[in-house]
Symmetry: C2
């Protein structure tokens, strides 16, 4: 009985493996991807950061531009600048969350400086991945020109460079242009129960 | 006109900031969270990995147990073992994706060994976060006893320890018990266009 179960399981798994191997063999293309993480749930920035660290682990030069600098970036920033400064550039352009500065013109200037830096980094063919953290916020408030960003990604991004754009409320036109889009949906959040942001989890 | 816009913006942002400051002041609680990342989209493991690295950045001891070891874990594993072995333990217990081993009994034994290791790590009060990567797969195939896992998280987890459980198809009972749940929803994936898994993005 136990052996029968095992045999059936082995046969089923062998079929799945054969189908999967065939599928993977057909996927031979490589290209630099436009990747979007959006939605209200957690994990948009931290999985972007996870990809940057995968690049570092593979020795691939990469860069981060932070468009909205909050108090919660300390972990990422410290780790990247302390341990991996040679492989990964880190540029924090934002002044804080927009409701903390209360100065629209300064926010716009910071977002535009961030985008100029982003273009320079993306154009550099030695850099394999550029993370534009929270750029969707800057696009949503029209601090950056959406058409200019889309045109740059479409026409000027080197073909093998990955660009990761994070932040809630991604513009539909950006989603249409992207290769890989994930929506992080919030199912449950402990803030509702009076739990504050904690190190390791949120920053 | 420009100045009026700026004034209105500053007033609006000041109101948002005041509301946010009040909200944050009410959130004073701290507790170890049960965190679940599920869904079919990307980012479940990489954002778990991102949280582990935030812990490392804060000098908080932490640990990873990988329940399903695939070819795609090379980046994470290399980075953790090469750079941060003192702060973070890494245990790869799985033998591969289940369809690659085709041996149910061996898979079950590997999953149970992983769970024994997980309990030991979670019980250790010096460890602040334990990532149980892809444990949802082991629970889905009934390689682990769901009730035992739930009872342990509810009754034996030290109150300040965070436990992160990843993998698609999280059990509803686990979602009910968790404090923080995010569903990664796949909006677009380049596999559909014949693009293979690439370093930095998938592994």
């Amino acid at each position: 009985m136990q052996t029968d179960d095992n045999t059936r399981h082995a046969e089923k798994m062998a079929r799945i493996k054969a189908a999967r191997d065939r599928m993977m063999q057909e996927k031979q293309g490589e290209k630099g991807l436009v990747i979007v993480h959006t939605g209200k749930g957690k994990g948009k920035s931290s999985s972007g950061f996870g990809m940057i660290l995968r690049c570092i682990a593979h020795g691939m030069p990469c860069a981060v531009v932070q468009f909205i600098k909050g108090a919660w970036d300390t972990g990422e920033r410290r780790l990247l600048t302390t341990h991996f400064g040679e492989l990964c550039q880190f540029h924090a352009m934002g002044e804080g969350f927009t409701w903390e500065t209360q100065d629209r013109e300064r926010d716009i200037a910071a977002a535009r400086a961030g985008w100029e830096k982003a273009k320079e980094l993306i154009r550099d063919p030695s850099i394999r991945m550029v993370l534009l953290d929270e750029i969707n916020i800057a696009l949503r408030y029209d601090y950056l020109d959406l058409d200019e960003v889309l045109a740059f990604l479409r026409d000027e991004k080197p073909p093998m460079t990955h660009v990761v754009l994070t932040g809630r409320n991604a513009k539909p036109e950006l989603i249409a242009l992207a290769d890989l889009v994930t929506e992080m949906e919030q199912v449950k959040h402990p803030f509702r129960d009076g739990i504050k942001a904690q190190p390791g989890v949120e920053f």
